[in-house]
Point group: C2
Chain length 157, copies 2
């Protein structure tokens, strides 16, 4: 039974992570979805919007909203690609770059909170396993399991 | 960096679990939130609405909506408590009881899908760890971490 309750745990951890991060980032005027996008942009300067949407695993419309909001607040800038004028590449501004350390510190605090009382080795195993099952959940095999064709927009069923 | 991306993984696993379960339960006309409630009622016959809300970790209004929907569809029934007339206790109907095996089978399939290619021992460690960190995330200490008073309604920040 306990094993089958995992869906509830994903929901709970998702809600609590969002609540903690949103609360901690409020002073910087960064929303949860914006924080996740920044986190994925720190080491992917020049990524285009489409690939960012695929990485975040949210649909393009939601990704565009988050990008526009971050741009308006001055954290990121969009530049036209030299190779393809239709493609916009994403870069951090100086203000965006300055969020790196505080955001890392916030996430570090969250991880430390979650892992308190658990030995480091076990926590590392849990994180590695979580990454593997998250990759599995976002794989193409998911659609076969659901008996559906893959979503053309890039996988948000 | 990878470690800090765990918030995205919780979100992804939450969305995919919901999508899979909703899709698999559609034939029974059971929504995702209803499935999670049933799952927690199978071994808690007679639980009252308030405690169910606390277990599900969603607010009372959302719990009430799910309960009313399940009652309307004939899966559960509410009975007045003998001790306190204001309290409603929840029970499965025969139709609700009949969902137990198919829902367990659906969740079993999801767990098997997620764990494919991972050895059983590692997967068990991940599930146990997940349970521990979910409990930690839903503990009272969470509010202190956020620098807030505990939510009186029972903990949905």
């Amino acid at each position: 039974m306990d094993k089958l309750d995992v869906a509830r745990q994903f929901g709970l951890l998702n809600r609590r992570s969002q609540a903690f991060i949103a609360n901690a980032c409020a002073d910087m005027e960064i929303a949860f979805s914006e924080c996740v996008l920044l986190l994925n942009l720190y080491h992917r300067a020049g990524i285009n919007q489409e690939n960012m949407s695929a990485i975040l695993f949210i649909d393009k419309a939601a990704t565009t909203r988050t990008i526009k909001s971050l741009e308006k607040k001055g954290f990121i800038k969009r530049e036209q690609s030299d190779e393809d004028k239709r493609v916009k590449k994403l870069y951090l501004t100086q203000k965006g770059e300055a969020t790196r350390e505080p955001i890392f510190a916030i996430l570090q605090r969250w991880m430390e909170f979650l892992s308190e009382g658990m030995d480091r080795e076990t926590f590392d195993t849990v994180l590695k396993g979580l990454k593997i099952i998250a990759e599995r959940a976002s794989s193409k095999e998911f659609y076969a399991l659901c008996g559906k064709e893959e979503d053309e927009r890039g996988g948000t069923l």
